[in-house]
């Protein structure tokens, strides 16, 4: 019984992705599988995955970090400046620094000052966007041609794989990762096990910020430069990738990395497939909404089928709103 449930839950994201591939494969008469298009799919989902690799740390604690959209823009802007000043070499350190700082700030707010992460990161989202508006206004900062190679498949794929491996290692094979998920289950249990929860939280937020910043670099290199509308609504895209992959909203032990890595292409494929089907404008968005619901619903149904319980409430947020009182 129990074993079975694990299996179903494990393969669910793959089922959804596979189903989607089949549907679009038929609908577009195989156009989806054209080499160029597969490459597009990869290019388009790369940034989402990278940012997700960070966000999952916060999500597994049951926290929320929706700064990604704006943070990406800020990091991109600064790293582009650095790129112009010191060449390609300057970009990554700058971006990472920016990401880390933002993450540190958020983490301290959440861990030390007990500001609910949703509240804090929402404010940051607004503030950082305003900041980048002020910083760039209509200005565009081009990235040096020398850095363009980053956008090449031959660099991006290995880079992505390395990142996944590193993050996967930290997330799954270190005490730190275990504590994260444990915090998602019951923060007190970890406190009473004599573990410095605050430190872990802060680090998690920092990693989240850093990954968002790195995603920022991959984005501007793709865009050719940074401008102030960069990364609009990016955070929601990343979240959808996690949700459609079946990562529990309230975090905890059910948070698995592969779910994100499968979820991101699923969302992208959905947009890509619809366009290939010749559906434009609002249609894609509407369908995206329905499929998101359908996917999560299916996961839930399967889950409750084998477990009897399905969380009808959004764990993290409802909890945090209660904490607000």
């Amino acid at each position: 019984m129990r074993k079975k449930k694990i299996n179903i839950n494990t393969i669910m994201p793959f089922l959804i992705l596979g189903g989607m591939l089949i549907i679009f494969g038929i609908a577009t008469h195989g156009q989806v599988f054209v080499k160029q298009n597969l490459l597009n799919l990869f290019n388009q989902s790369a940034a989402t995955i990278i940012a997700g690799l960070g966000m999952i740390f916060v999500a597994s604690m049951g926290g929320t970090d929706i700064t990604h959209g704006s943070l990406l823009a800020v990091a991109a802007a600064f790293s582009a400046m650095a790129g112009q000043a010191f060449g390609a070499g300057g970009m990554f350190p700058t971006a990472i620094l920016v990401g880390a700082l933002s993450g540190l700030f958020l983490g301290v707010l959440n861990a030390k000052f007990k500001v609910p992460s949703f509240m804090a990161s929402l404010s940051m989202l607004i503030a950082l966007r305003a900041f980048v508006n002020w910083l760039l206004s209509a200005r565009v900062i081009m990235v040096p041609q020398s850095i363009k190679f980053i956008d090449g498949f031959s660099f991006k794929l290995p880079a992505l794989i390395v990142l996944i491996i590193i993050i996967g290692y930290i997330f799954k094979y270190t005490p730190f990762g275990t504590y994260l998920r444990a915090i998602g289950e019951n923060e007190n249990a970890i406190k009473y096990a004599g573990i410095n929860v605050d430190k872990i939280k802060i680090v998690a937020f920092m990693i989240s910020g850093i990954m968002a910043a790195i995603a920022g670099i991959f984005t501007i290199v793709r865009m050719g430069g940074s401008n102030n509308t960069l990364g609009n609504g990016f955070e929601m895209k990343v979240m959808m990738a996690m949700f459609i992959g079946g990562i529990p909203v309230q975090g905890g032990m059910g948070t698995k990395l592969y779910k994100l890595i499968v979820g991101a292409p699923t969302i992208i494929l959905l947009e890509n497939g619809m366009v290939l089907c010749g559906a434009g404008g609002g249609v894609t968005q509407g369908v995206r909404g329905v499929v998101l619901l359908a996917a999560v619903y299916l996961t839930m149904v399967i889950y409750s089928k084998f477990n009897g319980t399905g969380g009808s409430k959004s764990g993290a947020i409802s909890k945090l709103l209660k904490e607000c009182t």
């Binding site: 926290g63 305003a130 900041f131 409430k313």
Partner: protein, 319 residues
């Protein structure tokens, strides 16, 4: 009794702080803040967020975090306007249809969560995408045929103009307060939010309560939509979850109110927060802080600040 005194003291402090802030900033803008005319403007701007926040209050408290509210407002407002103008249904169309569609849309998204066990804010996101898509269809067509992307409410705009707005506001507050603090529904919603187990055991019908809570919330949201439509004459459609930005201010308001719930009860807190947030923007404008950049940064800072203050020396788990 001691508890009551402590609470009273807290309330006094809060009021004092707000008052002080107002006086100080009034000096900062050499007296242009606390003029009758300016206060009128601030109130005018505070009314929309207040209603949205009251709506959120009834939905969020029972644990349903619905992010489709923004899209809901845009869509139902446009539907109402169409009924009022194009279909010539006048005020009935504006008020009736907006409220009805607001309720229906809200029920859709809440049902997804309550009945289909989809975590509420995923269902919220999904529904937001769908609502926006519908509105996008409409405005794409309209911009072809009508020479304008979204319908403009030309007549029937009294509800967006001052005396009426304030009256509606006061009525809305009374309703929100009574329902939230003094009605079985409100108490049950709060019970569910506070401790599901107890609520169940005490024979409270969870599903029914949550859904009817959503209905009440939707009515407030609908009112908000009407007011904003009448006030601005036009609510433009968005895509890509742009609708979220419509409720950022209100979200901030609700979070603020929530942080001070230990001092004043939510409905009152919302009024304070709404006025506070709107006057913040007003003051910044008076000082000459540029909009689109400086002002939003300040908003972010202020919300965080309030978050810190309200959770000062707070024990317990915060996600």
């Amino acid at each position: 009794m001691g508890v009551k005194m402590r609470k009273l003291k807290k309330q006094m402090i809060l009021l004092g702080c707000i008052g002080a802030i107002f006086v100080i900033s009034n000096m900062a803008v050499d007296g242009r803040l606390l003029t009758w005319n300016n206060m009128k403007i601030i109130i005018t701007h505070a009314i929309f967020p207040s209603f949205v926040s009251w709506g959120m209050m009834f939905i969020f408290t029972s644990g349903l975090i619905d992010l489709s509210i923004g899209a809901n407002i845009l869509l139902s407002a446009n539907i109402g306007a169409i009924c009022a103008m194009d279909l010539g249904m006048g005020y009935f169309g504006l008020i009736g249809m907006t409220l009805i569609s607001a309720v229906i849309l809200e029920q859709l998204s809440v049902n997804c969560s309550v009945n289909l066990k989809i975590p509420s804010w995923i269902s919220g996101l999904g529904m937001a995408l769908i609502f926006e898509a519908i509105l996008t269809f409409y405005s794409t067509i309209r911009s072809k045929t009508e020479g304008s992307s979204n319908i403009t409410l030309v007549n029937y705009r009294e509800m967006g103009s001052m005396p009426y707005m304030a009256i509606i506001w006061i009525i809305g507050f009374a309703a929100a307060y009574i329902i939230f603090n003094r009605s079985t529904l409100g108490l049950n919603i709060r019970a569910i939010g506070g401790n599901e187990g107890v609520a169940k055991a005490m024979g409270i019908n969870m599903k029914k309560t949550m859904l009817s809570g959503a209905v009440v919330g939707a009515l407030f949201i609908g009112m908000a939509a009407i007011i904003q439509e009448s006030y601005a004459g036009k609510l433009a459609s968005t895509s890509g979850l742009g609708s979220l930005s419509t409720i950022f201010k209100s979200l901030a308001t609700v979070l603020l109110a929530q942080s001070f719930e230990r001092v004043v009860s939510m409905p009152v807190g919302i009024i304070f927060s709404a006025v506070f947030v709107t006057s913040l923007f007003n003051v910044l404008t008076l000082i000459g802080v540029p909009s689109g950049t400086g002002q939003e940064m300040c908003l972010g800072a202020i919300v965080i600040l309030c978050g810190i203050i309200s959770h000062w020396r707070y024990k317990g788990v915060v996600k």
